[in-house]
Point group: C2
Chain length 344, copies 2
């Protein structure tokens, strides 16, 4: 069932060159020949062998997406998964196929993989190790980094304006009258968590309501479980600390903390207002839904792919850093009314 150009040529009584020209649409061919060849292509359900084509064209039309993962697999991740989705969609539209690879300690090995596979380009998401990046730099493969913690000059990097987003969150809470916020801060080695804490702290300082040392708790991971655990551990402190609000540097931790609070029958937002960061799907689904700062995950994916495609085609790339605009999303956890509250 697997036909080649040679077989088509034989049946059509023309040369392989001609068949190739007809199929690719490049070069001159008579209408007559075209019909003849195309008909056979149809009959045989011929599909050109992409591997052979890639070989001569030195172009695979594949891109690779490398996603860092800490503990868990990553495709289902509410944040990175969304970025991946956007990349998949954009790439398909431009006839690229995409290799997906999640990466743990095997860093170098997986990068090699991609390199051996001869992808036309690479998108690196999150905290890809420096050694991996160095290794990639040694090749001519273009790459784009998304939400990374370690990018160097010359790298194209797509990020959210995390510091600004955190300031918006702080301003908003301050505006609501909150003067004492408990903060759950994710791993400070990660750019996002670092900037989010920084932005929140600075904004509060500017408002004259500095965060005390004891009101900021450092998380070693940024998971739901961590948020829950920390809230549990600091519950006594929290309860007696006079806190009226809670800010976490991402939604997952905020949600975890919220679950614990709800289990203690704390009323949200009446007793404690909660704000997260990211706007993962879950945030709006929770009860109460979570006020958060939205990161344009889809936009990150689209931009990453679009820029990579330009790089691959050696078109000029406008800028070397893309900083997306964050946006406050107000929901029930800071007081937005429930849709159906009191109705019916």
């Amino acid at each position: 069932m697997e036909f080649t150009i040679k077989e088509i040529a034989r049946r059509a009584g023309v040369s392989k060159s001609t068949v190739s020209r007809v199929i690719s649409g490049k070069g001159y061919t008579s209408a007559e020949t075209q019909d003849k060849v195309l008909k056979i292509v149809q009959e045989l359900q011929y599909k050109p062998n992409a591997v052979a084509r890639a070989m001569v064209l030195q172009r695979t039309n594949n891109i690779g997406v490398l996603i860092y993962r800490e503990y868990h697999p990553i495709a289902a991740h509410p944040f990175y998964g969304k970025i991946l989705d956007a990349i998949l969609t954009s790439a398909t539209n431009l006839n690229y196929s995409v290799f997906v690879m999640t990466d743990h300690e095997i860093s170098l090995r997986s990068a090699d993989f991609m390199l051996e596979k001869r992808v036309d380009g690479l998108i690196l998401i999150s905290r890809i190790g420096q050694n991996v990046i160095d290794s990639i730099k040694n090749f001519e493969v273009p790459y784009i980094m998304v939400n990374s913690s370690n990018h160097a000059d010359g790298d194209i990097h797509i990020v959210n304006q995390d510091e600004k987003g955190a300031r918006i969150a702080a301003d908003y809470l301050y505006g609501l009258g909150h003067r004492n916020t408990f903060v759950l801060a994710g791993p400070q080695t990660h750019r996002s968590h670092h900037l989010r804490l920084k932005g929140f702290r600075h904004s509060m300082e500017e408002h004259g309501t500095s965060l005390s040392l004891s009101s900021v708790v450092s998380a070693s991971t940024s998971t739901f479980a961590e948020g829950y655990e920390l809230m549990c551990r600091y519950w006594e402190h929290f309860r007696t600390g006079g806190y009226t609000s809670l800010f976490a540097t991402n939604d997952m931790m905020a949600l975890g903390a919220m679950k614990f609070l709800l289990e203690q029958s704390v009323r949200i937002p009446e007793q404690v207002a909660v704000v997260g960061f990211d706007d993962i799907d879950f945030a709006s689904m929770y009860s109460p839904s979570l006020t958060t700062v939205r990161v344009e995950k889809e936009e990150m994916g689209i931009q990453a792919f679009t820029l990579l495609d330009k790089l691959i085609r050696k078109e000029p790339v406008p800028m070397h850093n893309v900083e997306l605009e964050p946006k406050l999303i107000v929901r029930q956890s800071t007081g937005l009314k429930k849709c159906h509250e009191g109705s019916e």
Copy 2:
């Protein structure tokens, strides 16, 4: 920076054949030659060109994963995303790379894509169109189906025992004393939702507590929003119907319905017990956490890949259908105590 076997050969003063032998480890080569070649490979950071190798070996070491999506992108999907993750992990372990493609109307085109790309095999997840399957059948590419609605004889199909799972859920609710359950049933064209409704209904009938017509509501999608909307629309009916429990054919709908109920200040599980199906990550994170029937998503992915690999290597494949065992997971939404309740 892109070296070939030819360059290695030149520098080592041997032939390409020899270099190839050293690198592949096949065929005899003197220790001396090996050292010489390997040293240069090191120096040059040589990576064999996978495309060229695939060409001659007629084997790419790539597999493709095709996931159906209805409305939304899919990688971040809490159910399919998990399966994908498991496939990614297993595949990487055996040195495969994986193409991921989500599919909507473009069905045929995306399958072609895979076929042109010469993947060694395909994993088809969820409701892949019959035309796509037919098209794939025309080629020699082995494939495995996961959680599909339309598989034919001879196809290898991996599914959860959905009917059985629903029976377990029904038995459990009955055992708790529930005699009047409101049911949210997802699209009946999908195998899973169909069997889950069927199993639940039959089990209840056997217990002598048949579901009345009005207690089963058909959903047109199986999303969170749909669960919420339906619960809202049937709220009056539900409130006055004397229902003590709610079953949805998947977690997302159950969660959506639950959010609505919580917003009406319905106490869960005291007033209404809720049971879902799938055990997506969210289920355990919700407040109250959701009792559900777990589908072994990771196992599905692992089995799918493992079988596909056997197919690719033309090893005998044990069975032609894999039916995974569902498992009831009891949580707060049907009465499990909160961990920290009352403590401290």
